[in-house]
Symmetry: C2
């Protein structure tokens, strides 16, 4: 006789894997009728829990995984530091897996966890992660997952984020107040919740300032540096080019600066630039770069603390534990008013906690 | 009867763990007499290979580990990308472990590998790794190790490095030719081979240019950003301060720029700055930063390719496979002659492959 899996039961009963798993574990959000039906069927087909999954519940690997799209972005390297501080206190190893923005890799990584390699998972999804059955399946096995930064809304668990909508709103308002009247918004995804929230904040700020929000000002970049260079150069070389630009991803700032240098646009006189970025060099760029700085270290630390809480208290309801930590707007030279004195320019530079 | 381990045999015979392991595996660099003696003793005490080590030899985890001090440095994030390209082609997972410059953590990580979690290890050691018995022990178990960038000379295996001595020599010569006559050299370790080679190149260039090499110009920095800021500020505020500075680690460049800004030193007029760095923002800093750029991606790729070669050919002698890949000197504004025309200044900026 072949071994019956949760997946098989889900298929047979026409229910999701998550529902079956929760029903068998007496989950709080599954109806009594469904629970009865699932249990009766599991009994009838001689279902026994997966031995791997059982070994997982013993939490023996003393290891947690961090699944990230990349580490070149300083947000992620700082978040890792926050995670490791907590893990070290708990005597756990941290394994870092990079998905390199590939859904296929992310799926393969999560499959690897099913063998009991790790006790829990901290995760920031790829730009390609529109389908999430691989996360759903891991979640259904009872391995605690906490999302941070790039979350997957469809999975019922804790999400550690920053105020992305408010941040998008704040930088856009700042550029409008600095005199911009055509603002380009560079993004890397039309689906990632984090990108959608930032662009929604941008659009709302435009509306509130009685400005038109044009789809042509929303610019979708890729993972390829050269492609992005070509695209941004094309946009900034147009006759009706933007006089303000928001880069919603750190790595785009270098490309924007390069393009401006190459086509002779002066920042901030000809064009103002702001970027969502945690890079420490922002303050020493030419000109210094206005940034939305995410609380990267804090987000990593909070996500890890929650994961350990879930590992220690098996009845913890992670769905009720989401946290939003505010970002900071660092106004620097790249976005301040042009044609004013150096002293006044200095005065305009400041740090604002976004609320 | 207790189980006899390689460690026990080593102790009993007064030999190193590595020697015992190699003798039992018929290693090429162990004398016939020693081999005979070790084998006879192993037979007499009923030694059987460690079951973990046996399972390791089956190479079943389909996983390699990368042990790094940090990922904030862009050298490491780029090297990871090179490693992952190869690993993906081979269908392997890559686990990234961060030692955070702590020997204790590095030891704990390597201990974790003894359970057969990974098939092979790519490694860059911490600034604290003066004692290396933990690496020796893992090596003795037959788990292939390839070092890259920060190598451990005492372990007989492949080392993928760049021409650090020549790089130290080239940047120092460049600064001397740009008019500097007092050059400070910032380092993070007096023991790491990579730091020693760079500083040896620096000293040799001074001698060849008939300059005095003073110990007081060698400045040892730490992992603490604030401490480094205070130290660099103190040095650059002295009456007899350096008029040229070499940062042998990427992160120090931001601190140097900040200090110069804060105490009113103009780069390159008052002080010239060069840095060993792979950061993409070097070209857009104020002023753009002269760097020694390591072939990070290539080094990671080469190290991974060698590790897989060792995993596929068990009789491969890794000690004969070390590779040195040259770095590039990118001369930019931060180190060129002061007081010359913008056009001439531009002409002086160039890329040189260091030989």
């Amino acid at each position: 006789m072949s071994i019956i899996t949760i997946k098989q039961i889900a298929r047979d009963l026409g229910l999701s894997i998550a529902t079956i798993s929760k029903a068998l574990r007496d989950g709080h959000d599954i109806g009594e009728e469904t629970k009865k039906r699932v249990r009766a069927y599991a009994l009838s087909v001689n279902y026994t829990p997966n031995p791997y999954a059982s070994s997982l519940r013993k939490r023996k690997s003393k290891t947690i995984a961090v699944v990230l799209p990349e580490v070149t972005d300083s947000f992620f390297s700082k978040a890792i530091n926050g995670i490791e501080v907590v893990a070290q206190m708990k005597g756990y190893h941290v394994l870092i897996y990079l998905s390199h923005e590939s859904l296929l890799r992310e799926q393969s990584i999560l499959k690897d966890f099913q063998s009991g390699r790790v006790d829990g998972v901290l995760m920031s999804i790829t730009t390609e992660t529109e389908c999430n059955s691989h996360i759903q399946e891991l979640h259904a096995r009872g391995i605690p997952i906490v999302f941070f930064d790039r979350v997957c809304n469809e999975i019922d668990t804790a999400k550690i984020t920053t105020n992305d909508f408010e941040s998008g709103y704040a930088v856009t308002s700042h550029l409008l107040e600095s005199g911009c009247n055509k603002i380009g918004f560079l993004t890397i995804s039309n689906c990632l919740p984090i990108c959608m929230k930032r662009s929604a904040g941008y659009k709302k700020a435009l509306i509130d300032h009685h400005m038109e929000s044009k789809e042509s000002d929303m610019i979708l970049c890729s993972n390829n540096e050269e492609e992005n260079y070509t695209l941004i150069k094309k946009i900034l070389s147009q006759k009706k080019r933007p006089n303000g630009i928001i880069a919603s991803v750190e790595k785009l700032s270098t490309t924007i600066y390069q393009v401006c240098k190459d086509i002779g646009l002066q920042i901030p006189n000809d064009i103002k630039v702001v970027c969502f970025s945690n890079q420490s060099t922002a303050a020493i760029l030419n000109p210094s770069l206005t940034t939305v700085t995410q609380p990267a270290f804090e987000m990593g630390k909070t996500a890890a603390a929650l994961l350990f809480k879930a590992l220690e208290k098996t009845n913890l309801d992670l769905t009720k534990e989401s946290v939003i930590i505010p970002s900071t707007l660092h106004i620097r030279e790249s976005s301040v008013l042009a044609g004013i004195s150096k002293t006044k320019n200095k005065l305009l530079q400041k740090e604002i906690l976004i609320s």
